[in-house]
């Protein structure tokens, strides 16, 4: 057992000893930097040596040239070369530090031996540099090495290098005469003295004081190493904590993103609506949200909201609000009572002063009736297809949600028509600020939407976001930017079908049978179907022959039939912009000789259809013919 304990002790000692040679992971990077610092210092000492050599050569310093030469060569071998190797390896390598310090310490020892009192500070350089490694054991090792080297050099340098005259404790009898042949210094040195006495002098008066001071420096360096290590460890802890928080924020951001409807179109079976929304948070997670859900097959709810504040606190309130609004509304489909209840629930237990602004609407898809309530939110923009313009829908807002639990919300009502749009947004849009502290503003938003009123909801929101980003420029986004657009394309029970055809004349029979098949489903009289197909021929053949010149292209035909049997056919192509309505009608009163051949097709169409309209939007020719299928 005794042997066992001894073995354990030896193992422990070896481990400690090993830690001088095997750097812990924690300090590896630190060690690389420290190696570079050490190499730099060694190189500086080497340059200093060169400078001193030059000064000695030009006789500014009174040192023997021999000694200086020897110093410089040793400095080159023991300082410059190891330092360069270290630079080449960029401070990497387990043994670099030991090579550097052994060479450095030995060099300092030699310097002390050769130049003695001129290089008093040399002794402490290695140990001070060792503190940079923040490794107590390493510093102790260097302290030991320095002690050994200096004792050795003190001993071996008794008779080499520059001589320190202080070591000659001269006891000369009074009135002795000294003859100076060369220098006074040489003369003194040649005086015979007691060598043991001299050794004792060197040791006691020259070596010991320096050694005591060295020990004090060593002690300080050990303390530096220890506290440095503590600092590095704490830094590592903080970095790891920061990384963990960052990871958690990223996950929270994903959770939040998944909570908002992000699959578009959200209700593909409802072809009568075009719906798109986006939320861009200012930080990793935001406090804005939007929502869209079907209460039943005939009622669509859309909602946009803004929680006061940003970041984690706002996002928590945002999640609760969104879930409450949807779930309460699904049970109690009246906007006013639903919001009033949600508000009470949010106020319950709301110890922070956070609140939520919200605009909430329910659209009856059958007739376009839009009921809505406004809890302190920005007024939405409504696009009227008839007037071809976006206007702000202003109503007296109620108090924000989660403000007072006694707030009761008022239901407002308006009607929208097929072709109309509803645009919802949050503060982050109108209050987006550029570097000159100018706001994007309500007017700019309205103007932008009016200029781009022919785009679909996804295009509108994406291009608007780009416009806001362009406006903001290099300034930081300081608020969440959220937008939602709903296009009410047709009343729900109106019928819409769509088909794409190659714009080729031989496709005509396919187009016409498509039209015939669809229209006969709605019990439209044959005569009317025939007239419509005549118009279809004229228009389609025109597109097939001229829209794409020699290239291939398609024509998209949409057939829409509403409850009143008003039939609309829309022809769309991406060909050369051409308005067939611009051609003047042929003069049908002209005699046969004067009659021209052209223009007949469109003329027939105009005569047979109730209405014909052309527009060029989104790089498309759009021709719309309307016929009342009821008469």
């Amino acid at each position: 057992m005794v042997g066992g304990k001894q073995l354990e002790n030896i193992k422990k000692m070896f481990k400690e000893f090993k830690s001088i040679f095997v750097s812990e992971d924690l300090l590896k990077e630190n060690e690389q930097h420290a190696n570079i610092v050490t190499a730099a210092t060694m190189l500086n000492v080497f340059w200093l040596c060169i400078i001193v050599w030059i000064l000695t050569y030009s006789e500014v310093f009174k040192i023997e040239m021999e000694i200086m030469n020897s110093m410089t060569i040793r400095a080159f071998i023991l300082l410059a070369i190891p330092a360069c190797i270290c630079y080449l390896k960029r401070g990497n390598g387990k043994l670099i530090k030991h090579v550097l310090f052994i060479c450095f310490t030995i060099m300092m020892g030699m310097a002390d031996a050769l130049l003695k009192y001129n290089v008093t500070l040399a002794m402490v350089l290695p140990i001070i540099l060792s503190a940079r490694y923040y490794n107590k054991n390493f510093t102790l090792g260097i302290a030991t090495l320095t002690t050994i080297v200096f004792c050795t050099s003190a001993f071996m340098s008794v008779n080499v290098g520059q001589q320190d005259l202080n070591s000659y404790n001269l006891i000369i009898p009074q009135n002795t005469q000294i003859v100076v042949d060369g220098t006074l210094r040489d003369a003194v040195i040649e005086i015979k003295v007691d060598e043991t006495q001299r050794l004792k002098n060197i040791f006691i008066h020259l070596f010991l004081p320096k050694f005591f001071l060295f020990n004090i420096v060593a002690f300080a360096c050990v303390q530096i190493a220890r506290s440095g290590k503590k600092m590095v460890e704490r830094q590592k802890e903080i970095t790891e904590k920061g990384k963990r928080i960052e990871t958690e924020l990223n996950i929270a951001s994903l959770i939040q993103k998944n909570m908002l409807p992000s699959i578009f179109p959200p209700f593909p079976e409802h072809k009568e609506i075009d719906l798109y929304a986006s939320m861009t948070p200012a930080k990793e997670i935001g406090g804005d949200f939007y929502d869209m859900f079907l209460i039943d097959d005939n009622h669509l709810a859309i909602c946009i909201a803004d929680v006061s504040g940003k970041g984690v606190p706002a996002s928590l309130v945002m999640m609760i609000s969104k879930i409450l609004i949807k779930n309460v509304t699904l049970i109690d489909a009246e906007i006013d009572t639903a919001l009033t209840r949600v508000n009470k629930m949010l106020c319950d237990g709301n110890k922070t002063d956070m609140f939520v602004t919200c605009w909430f609407g329910i659209l009856d898809l059958r007739d376009g009736k839009l009921e809505f309530a406004n809890a302190g939110h920005n007024p939405p923009l409504i696009y009227s297809n008839k007037k071809n313009s976006f206007e702000y829908l202003r109503s007296k807002p109620n108090m924000v949600l989660a403000g007072f639990d006694t707030t009761s919300y008022i239901k407002h009502e308006t009607y929208i028509e097929p072709g109309d749009k509803v645009f919802l947004y949050t503060d982050g849009v109108v209050e987006a600020t550029n570097e000159e502290n100018k706001l994007y503003g309500e007017k700019r938003l309205q103007d932008f939407l009016n200029e781009h009123s022919s785009l679909g909801s996804e295009e509108t929101i994406k291009t608007l976001k780009k416009d806001i980003d362009k406006f903001v420029g290099k300034a930081e986004q300081f608020d969440d930017i959220t937008m939602l657009e709903l296009i009410y394309k047709a009343r729900k029970d109106d019928n819409i079908v769509q088909k794409e055809f190659k714009a080729e004349v031989n496709e005509l029979s396919n187009v016409q049978s498509f039209v015939e098949t669809e229209l006969s489903k709605y019990n439209i009289a044959n005569e009317i179907i025939n007239h419509i197909n005549l118009a279809v021929e004229e228009i389609f053949v025109n597109i097939a022959n001229y829209a794409y010149k020699d290239k291939n292209g398609n024509c998209l035909l949409t057939i829409q039939n509403d409850e009143d049997k008003i039939i609309k056919l829309v022809f769309e192509d991406n060909g050369i912009p051409f308005n067939p309505l611009e051609r003047p009608d042929p003069d049908i009163t002209k005699s046969v000789d004067e009659r021209e051949i052209g223009g007949l097709g469109i003329f027939i169409t105009k005569k047979l259809m109730d209405d014909i309209e052309y527009k060029y939007e989104d790089n498309k020719n759009i021709l719309i013919i309307t016929k009342n299928g009821g008469n």
């Binding site: 004349v505 031989n506 005509l508 029979s509 005569e527 025939n530 197909n533 005549l534 021929e537 004229e538 053949v541 049908i588 009163t589 005699s591 046969v592 000789d593 009659r595 051949i597 007949l600 097709g601 003329f603 027939i604 005569k607 047979l608």
Partner: protein
């Protein structure tokens, strides 16, 4: 579209059956040829269900030609076809029976 051609001397009768539209008009045009030496041209359109501007253009160019060398008549047009002729003013210069 079915085209039946009966020629006796300078008397040509074309019976058209079906639809006269952009795709079928070139066939009729081929059948008519240059109308060289024809003095009387009759179109029997009893079976014609549908005519579009392509067909109208063809009738117009035939009428112009026949005005120089003879006469042209369109027979047995149904109500729908007559409607189209009226709307486009073709009934003013076509001889329709």
């Amino acid at each position: 579209m079915n085209i039946d051609k009966k020629q006796i001397g300078s008397f040509l009768t074309i019976t058209i059956d079906g639809r006269l539209d952009t795709n079928t008009a070139p066939d009729l045009e081929k059948e008519l040829g240059t109308l060289e030496g024809i003095e009387k041209l009759i179109f029997d359109v009893r079976g014609l269900e549908y005519i579009s501007s392509a067909g109208l253009r063809l009738f117009l160019s035939c009428q112009k030609k026949m005005n120089e060398q003879g006469s042209m008549t369109i027979k047995n047009a149904n109500e729908d076809i007559k409607d189209i002729f009226d709307i486009t003013g073709f009934s003013d210069f076509l001889t329709i029976e």
